[in-house]
Symmetry: C2
Subunit: 271 residues, 2 copies
C-alpha cells in the first residue's frame, strides 16, 4: 500500500487557491461589516460617555438599564472599554474567515449585517469543502511521514506487528508533543494562561470545538512577536490535519474494534 504524493504543482496551486479564497473572503467581509461595526462600536462608546457625564444625577433604575444595555453590547461583540482596535481590520477579518472555514468558529467576531450573514452561508458552503480538501493533503503528508518510518523499521528487520505498534506510538506521542504540549508552553508564556488552560485551548481549537472562551492575541497588555499569528495559523493547519487523523483512528476503532490500528493511520486510499 502506497499513498500517491500529490505533485508539487498541485500542492502549490491548492495553497494559492486556498489563500486567495481566504483573502478575497476576508476583504468582502471587511467591506460588508466594517461600517456597521464602527457605527455600533461608536454607539456603545457614546452611551458610555453619556453615562460617565451624568451618572451622579441618574436614578438606580436608569443605571440598571445602562448595565443591561452594556451587557447586550458586549454579547454582540462590542468593546465598551474602547481599547481594542477595529474589529474588522484585515488581520482580524482574515482570522475570522480562517476560523469559519476550519469550522472552529470562535465567535469573538461574527457578521451583524444581513448581507454579511448571507455571504457567510454562501462563502462557507464552498469554503468548508475546500478547507477539507486542503487538510486532506496536509494529512497525506503526515501519513507519509509515518509510512516512511514504518518502511524504515521494516527494512531493518523489525516484525510487521511491532512496526505497526511503533508507528502508531510515534504518531500519538510525537503528535501530542508537537501539536499540544510544545505549543501550549508558548501560549502559556504569551497569553498569561496557566499550562492547563493552554492545553485546554489547544485541544478546543484543534478539535474544532472552538468555544471562544480563550483566544490568542487578545491580551492588551502583552506585546506579541511579529510572526506570532502566522505561526499560530500554521500550527492550526497542521494540528487540524493531525487531529483529524487521530479522530479517524478512534472512530474506526469504535466502529470495528477488531481492525488493525496502523492501517487506519492511512485513511487516504492508494490512488
Amino acid at each position: 500500500q502506497t499513498i500517491m504524493i500529490p505533485s508539487k504543482l498541485q500542492i502549490c496551486l491548492l495553497i494559492a487557491g486556498y489563500l486567495t479564497y481566504l483573502m478575497v473572503g476576508a476583504s468582502i467581509f471587511q467591506v460588508l461589516e466594517r461600517d456597521e461595526d464602527r457605527k455600533q462600536q461608536a454607539a456603545v462608546l457614546r452611551m458610555k460617555e453619556d453615562f460617565l457625564q451624568n451618572f451622579s444625577s441618574l436614578t438606580p433604575v436608569e443605571v440598571e438599564i445602562f448595565v443591561k444595555k452594556l451587557t447586550e453590547a458586549v454579547r454582540m461583540g462590542m468593546d465598551p472599554t474602547g481599547n481594542e482596535n477595529s474589529n474588522w481590520d484585515f488581520s482580524n477579518s482574515f482570522f475570522f474567515v480562517g476560523s469559519m472555514l476550519s469550522t472552529i468558529g470562535y465567535g469573538n467576531l461574527s457578521p451583524k449585517t444581513a448581507g454579511g450573514q448571507l455571504f457567510c452561508v454562501v462563502f462557507a458552503l464552498f469554503g468548508i469543502p475546500l478547507n477539507i480538501v486542503f487538510l486532506h493533503h496536509i494529512g497525506k503528508i503526515l501519513s507519509l511521514l509515518c509510512e516512511r518510518l514504518a518502511k524504515c523499521l521494516y527494512r531493518k528487520g523489525v516484525k510487521k506487528k511491532t512496526t505497526r505498534v511503533l508507528t502508531l506510538l510515534f504518531f500519538l506521542v510525537m503528535g501530542i508533543l508537537v501539536f499540544i504540549c510544545v505549543p501550549s508552553v508558548i501560549f502559556q508564556v504569551m497569553e498569561d494562561w496557566t499550562y492547563s488552560e493552554a492545553i485546554y485551548f489547544a485541544f478546543i481549537t484543534l478539535s474544532t470545538i472552538g468555544f471562544g472562551d480563550y483566544i490568542i492575541g487578545r491580551q492588551q497588555s502583552k506585546r506579541y512577536f511579529p510572526y506570532y499569528r502566522m505561526l499560530v495559523a500554521i500550527w492550526i493547519i497542521f494540528g487540524l490535519a493531525w487531529i483529524a487523523l487521530l479522530f479517524n483512528l478512534l472512530t474506526n476503532l469504535l466502529e470495528d474494534p477488531d481492525a488493525k490500528p496502523a492501517e487506519e493511520l492511512l485513511p487516504v486510499k492508494p490512488s
Copy 2:
C-alpha cells in the same frame, strides 16, 4: 451496490450508549462547574449591587473601572442583569455537552475550573469519535432513503443517468427544505429573528461552525413550547448527518471533478 442496514439492536445500543455518555458527561460537568459558576455569578451581582448603592458618590474613573470589570464578566459568560437561571442546570449542561461533542461549540457556556477543562479534553477526545459514529449511522439512513428513491425510479424505466440526477436533486432540494427552510420559519417565530437571521443560524449550527452569536431558547420574554429544545436536538442530529453528506459530496467534487455525483451520495462502502 447496497448499503448494509445496521440491525435494530445495534442502533438501539448505539443510541443508548450515546445518550448515556451525554448524560454522564452532563452530570459530571454540573458537579465540577456549578459551585464555581454560582460563586462568580454571585460576585458579579454583588459588584453591581455595590455599584448601584454608591454610584452617585463615585468618580468617573471608578465608574470606568466598573464598566471594564462588567465587560470582562460578561465575556466570561456571567449575567449581570441577574435574569437568567443557573448556567449549569441539567438541561443547560446537557446542551453544552451535546454542543461540544458535535464540535459546534457555541461557547455561551464553557468550563472555568481546571478540573472541568481537563475533563473536557478527555471527555471530548472519546466523545467526538463516538458522535461521528452515531452520525455515520444517521447518514446511512438518509443515504438509504435516496437509494430507495433511485431504485424505485430505475424500476419504473427511468434511465440510469436521469435517475442519478433526480436522486441528487431530491437530496439537495428536500434537504434544504427540511433542514434549513422549514426549521428557520420556526426559529423566526420562536426567537424573534428575521428569516435571514434564522437561515444564518441554521447554517452556522449545522456546519458545526457554531459562532454562538445566535442561540436558541435564550429569549427571556418568550415562552417556548415544552418539547422545543428536544425538537431542536433532533433537528441538529439529522441536520448534521445531512450536511456531512453534502460537504462530502462537495469535497469529492473538488478533489475529482470528473466523478459521478450520485455515487458520492452514498459514501458508505457496501459491506
